[in-house]
């Protein structure tokens, strides 16, 4: 088995910058099921990020690198590969941000940690305030998990109104490109020979 890790990528020529992908990502990763905006008691925390400049509009997300620098850099082994997905075990994450430094795409973010819709606190770490020591909010590393276990595959791909996102399977990608190249050669040969 030598399958390369699949990943999601956006087409900047199709993307309109609506952020439906971000919302859909947050919805499927919410730990309490949500259908309407009013049901949400937590912020929208996506795992892909819209880049919008004068030159380019598209969301960026994890490439599920073969030699994942985030996993290599993680001092507590919280990042592993599961079924072709580079996966963060948020319970194990200590929030050191080394993975953020290591990721060449900015696909990793430190986000507030929620469980059952409630903000999770650090176990012991407190901050001194006027009213005495207060437990600090927990933050954990968060990145695309290609919607592991989600029916219908990645939610960003399924919900994009412009079909600007797709799952790339690298082995198929090469074969498709090879075929396209071969057909192009055939075309040009035809033109030369007539």
């Amino acid at each position: 088995m030598c399958a390369l890790n699949a990943f999601v990528v956006a087409d900047p020529n199709k993307c309109i910058g609506c952020k439906v992908c971000e919302v859909a990502c947050a919805v499927v990763h919410s730990d309490v099921p949500v259908k309407t905006v009013g049901q949400m008691t937590t912020p929208i925390i996506p795992r892909l990020y819209l880049v919008k400049t004068a030159e380019v509009t598209m969301p960026v997300q994890c490439r599920h690198c073969e030699d994942a620098p985030c996993a290599n850099a993680c001092p507590v082994g919280a990042i592993t590969q599961r079924d072709g997905i580079i996966y963060v075990d948020q319970e194990a994450c200590v929030g050191c941000k080394t993975c953020m430094l290591a990721c060449p795409f900015g696909a990793m973010e430190m986000v507030p940690y929620y469980r059952n819709g409630e903000r999770v606190k650090q176990l012991r770490l407190t901050e001194e305030t006027g009213e005495g020591p207060v437990l600090q909010d927990a933050f954990v590393a968060s990145k695309c998990d290609r919607c592991i276990g989600v029916e219908g595959g990645p939610a960003c791909v399924a919900n994009c109104p412009k079909e600007a996102l797709r799952v790339v399977r690298p082995d198929e990608l090469r074969r498709t490109r090879n075929l396209e190249a071969a057909l192009a050669v055939l075309e040009s040969v035809k033109n030369v020979i007539g």
Binding site: I16, G17, V23, K35, T36, V37, G38, N159, P161
Partner: protein
């Protein structure tokens, strides 16, 4: 009023795709704004907008500031999006806390098939009784339903149609309960205003009755009555503030909030909606029939009107109550109904963007129907701009279907299904209004329209 938060808008123009009047202004990729003169406040842009305020974006104003700008309750936890309507929940909270105010509330048909969604129940859950209970916990003095005045609208509008058909009035007649449609006609086809039924919308009929008949029934000073309306609609507040809507001698409807804002108020008060036991609406202005409740779905006004018109004209019971031929989805539908000797031709338009070709036919004199229902939102009020906003595009469609199904389920289960059989409708005509299209009705329940064509 509908606004687009310049800090949050990415300029994707998904809102422009659903706007029926091309009121969204701006270059692609740049923050958009709303042409308030053109805007009919349907709020479909609010429903579709997906550009949210991110906690990861440090360059935007704090959440507290945004909540204040939108006049939302500070306790609201839900995410905020670029397109929004100015809220009124703070005013309602204030009125409920004022011991000098006698606060009456009306809730529109479509609210009862959607509000439960905001409390985690399945899309389209039918919850009229729980909503009545929640409104009582919130402290409203009278819990009334717009479905009652929907029944009353049928009595008035049905008789108006019969009169126009038999006595040679302006035809085809158009329904007038959707305020966005009325504003559209006033600004885009003012020459067709005589076609609009002179009936006020059910909301405004209720407003006029709260501070007259309602105050009399409860023996309270009309000046102390504060009239609150809960609507699936972001345009109803505009309608309530039209200068002519003071038939009771006071502002008929003091404040309008949306379904979403009612959910905010319920959460703000710490009421556990899902655990509430069902309660009844107050009488007399809260008793309604199935005909009144189907106003929330496209074709509902038409169906309710036909159920009554048939029986008034033929003096016989209508053979079939479920008039499937006027029900449906987005677009234009035509039907012909045999009512005694009269072959009544009707047209139902769902989604304001589909109406212009039909109006051109009316202008050209080639429109072949007597009566047209128009609803601005895609499948009627159940899909209104003030309804719970689905997070995913596919759930927006599922919600519409489920809310429509619940509306007809409710209709099927109610004791009375024809407006003219509502005992409290019979009573109000006997005790207070006299007869449909009578003097009192004319004064309280009918209105006029204002051409508002923009200068070229």
């Amino acid at each position: 009023m509908i606004y687009i938060d310049q800090e949050l808008c990415t300029g994707c123009r998904s809102c422009a795709d659903v706007c029926p009047v091309d009121a969204i202004v701006g270059e692609f990729g740049q923050p958009q704004s709303v042409d308030q003169e053109l805007c009919v406040m349907c709020g479909q842009c609010v429903q579709v907008c997906s550009s949210y305020a991110s906690i990861l974006d440090e360059g935007i104003a704090p959440r507290e500031q945004k909540l204040a700008e939108r006049a939302m309750l500070p306790s609201v936890k839900e995410p905020l999006f670029a397109a929004y309507n100015q809220g009124k929940a703070l005013k309602v909270k204030e009125a409920l806390a004022d011991p000098d105010k006698y606060v009456m509330v009306q809730v529109a048909p479509a609210v009862r098939v959607a509000i439960a969604e905001e409390f985690g129940m399945p899309l389209g859950s039918l919850a009229p009784g729980q909503m009545a209970a929640a409104l009582r916990r919130l402290g409203f003095d009278r819990i009334y339903s717009t479905d009652f005045t929907a029944d009353l609208t049928i009595m008035e509008e049905g008789h108006e149609l019969i009169e126009r058909v038999t006595k040679g009035g302006t035809l085809p007649m158009f329904t007038s309960c959707c305020p966005a449609w009325v504003k559209y006609l006033e600004q885009t086809y003012p020459e067709l205003l005589p076609h609009l039924s002179s009936c006020k919308s059910p909301q405004q009929m209720a407003g006029a009755l709260f501070k007259t008949y309602g105050a009399k029934v409860d023996k309270v000073d009309p000046a102390k009555v504060y009239s609150v309306s809960v609507m699936p609609c972001t345009c109803k507040d505009f309608e309530a503030n039209r200068p002519e809507m003071k038939a009771s001698g006071h502002q008929d409807v003091d404040v309008v909030i949306t379904t979403r804002e009612l959910a905010h108020l319920i959460k703000d008060a710490g009421i556990d909606f899902a655990s509430l036991t069902e309660e009844e609406y107050d009488r007399p202005l809260g008793l309604y029939t199935g005909a009144g409740t189907i106003f929330g779905a496209t074709g509902g006004v038409m169906e309710a009107a036909l159920r009554t018109a048939y029986e008034v004209i033929t003096k016989k019971p209508i053979p079939e109550l479920d008039l499937e031929y006027v029900r449906g989805g987005e677009g234009v539908r035509y039907a012909t109904v045999q009512v005694g000797d009269l072959e009544l031709k009707v047209c139902v338009v769902s989604g304001l963007k589909h109406v212009a070709p039909v109006l051109e036919q009316v202008k050209a004199g080639t429109a072949d129907f007597h009566f047209m229902e128009v609803m601005t939102c895609p499948v009627g009020c159940v899909s209104g701009g003030g309804q719970p906003k689905a997070l995913l595009p596919k759930d927006r469609i599922c919600a519409r279907t489920a809310r429509t199904a619940s509306t007809y389920k409710h209709d099927g289960e109610l004791r009375h299904r024809k407006s003219h059989e509502n005992p409290d409708i019979k009573k109000i005509y006997k005790e207070f209004l006299g007869k449909p299209l009578g003097e009192q009705s004319h004064h309280l329940l009918h209105t006029t329209y204002t051409p508002r064509r923009r200068d070229a």
